[in-house]
């Protein structure tokens, strides 16, 4: 479960060492944009040591490496992989071939290190027009691709349009990515909300992303994590309804009924699936019903 993912600059020890107490479901150690070219070596070693020595509990550890058009990405991977990050975030993924190049090198490293194939997952960051158009082929490029992530800042630069708080300019990209990811059977994460001090804006933006089908949202500020977690968690009434659905289905099965209704609405397979997803998330959050 990744409701929230928080970016931490890879060369900032003060933030890295506190990453596990900022409330995010996943931490993204950033070796790319947050690190100047002169400090790439230092950040890489610091992130490697953070992975090696720090305990992040249940918080997932993701590393954003440098893109494959830079001289850094292979060194990034060979340095950090022995300490088993959960996932690699690949910036500027424009085509399936980009993800496949990284997949091939990860496979080579996993073999060298005696790790099971596909131990480390891959999350392409889609932040170009080409990437959006190729979203489905990227999502299905390799077995280790487990999620897509929309990056709106670079995307709007590529689209030659203004990035606004209303985000109308990324509506197509958002829906396109959700569609591609769901069709491929992988998760999908929404772009960060960049106004750190707008508490209402982040809530509205996260809620809209959830309504579109995103699995969670990425943040560049610890301030946004709590709101994102709240928005992407099921509410008590959603949990109650999900249990009602499953109870009604169980009862109908016992009584040999084929079709049932609840609260005046037919309960069909998609509703049951959604209820199961809600319960599964509620259980993961400790909000589920205690079974007798």
């Amino acid at each position: 479960m990744r409701r929230s993912m928080l970016f931490l600059p890879g060369n900032n020890p003060n933030m890295l060492i506190n990453g596990n107490c900022l409330g995010a479901d996943a931490i993204i150690f950033d070796l790319e944009d947050a690190v100047s070219p002169a400090e790439k070596d230092a950040a890489r070693i610091l992130v490697r040591n953070t992975l090696r020595y720090m305990d992040f509990g249940g918080c997932e550890r993701i590393v954003r490496i440098n893109s494959i058009d830079t001289p850094y990405w292979k060194k990034d991977l060979s340095t950090i992989l022995p300490w088993k990050p959960d996932m690699i975030l690949l910036p500027k993924t424009g085509a399936a071939a980009d993800a496949q190049a990284v997949d091939a090198y990860l496979t080579e490293l996993e073999q060298q290190l005696g790790m099971e194939p596909n131990t480390v997952a891959l999350m392409p960051l889609i932040e170009t027009a080409m990437g959006v158009e190729n979203a489905f082929s990227i999502a299905t490029a390799a077995k280790r691709v487990r999620a897509l992530f929309l990056g709106a800042e670079d995307l709007t630069t590529d689209l030659q349009c203004k990035r606004t708080k209303e985000s109308k300019e990324i509506f197509y990209a958002r829906t396109r990515l959700v569609m591609a990811a769901r069709a491929a059977g992988v998760e999908v994460y929404d772009t960060p909300f960049i106004d750190i001090n707008d508490d209402i804006g982040i809530r509205e933006d996260a809620a809209f992303a959830k309504d579109l089908g995103f699995s969670g949202k990425v943040s560049i500020s610890p301030r946004h994590v709590e709101v994102i977690n709240e928005v992407f968690s099921p509410t008590q009434s959603e949990i109650d309804y999900a249990y009602e659905v499953l109870d009604a289905i169980a009862l109908a099965k016992k009584q040999g009924k084929g079709a049932i209704s609840l609260r005046g609405k037919m309960i069909d397979a998609p509703i049951v699936t959604r209820a199961q997803q809600t319960i599964s998330m509620a259980m993961a959050l400790g909000l589920g019903r205690e079974e007798a």
């Binding site: 020890p13 070596d41 230092a42 610091l46 040591n49 953070t50 020595y53 720090m54």
Partner: protein, 89 residues
């Protein structure tokens, strides 16, 4: 192995450590500034020595200015400074 050039790594910011390394005069000299030098000075020096040994550096002048860095940060900064000093970046 000799350090070929003066190099540094890290910052003076909280939770970080600044490490400066320079060509030595045949030995390894380490100077340490830290607010916790009384309590952790020996431990910090031991970690610095261990990382320098791993990097096969035995001839250098090393200046450490600690700002409350955890061991994993200290190790990272010393390693980075040593690699930069050897020209291996």
């Amino acid at each position: 192995m000799d350090i070929k050039q003066i190099a540094s790594a890290g910052t003076m910011e909280s939770s970080d450590v600044y490490v400066e390394i320079a060509p030595g005069n045949g030995t390894l000299e380490i100077s340490l500034e830290s607010v916790v030098v009384q309590q952790f000075g020996d431990a910090i020096r031991a970690v610095v020595l261990e990382v320098l040994q791993e990097q096969q550096v035995d001839n250098a002048n090393v200046r450490i200015v600690d700002r409350g860095a955890l061991e994993c940060v200290l190790r990272a900064r010393v390693e980075t400074a040593a690699l930069r000093g050897k020209g291996n970046v």
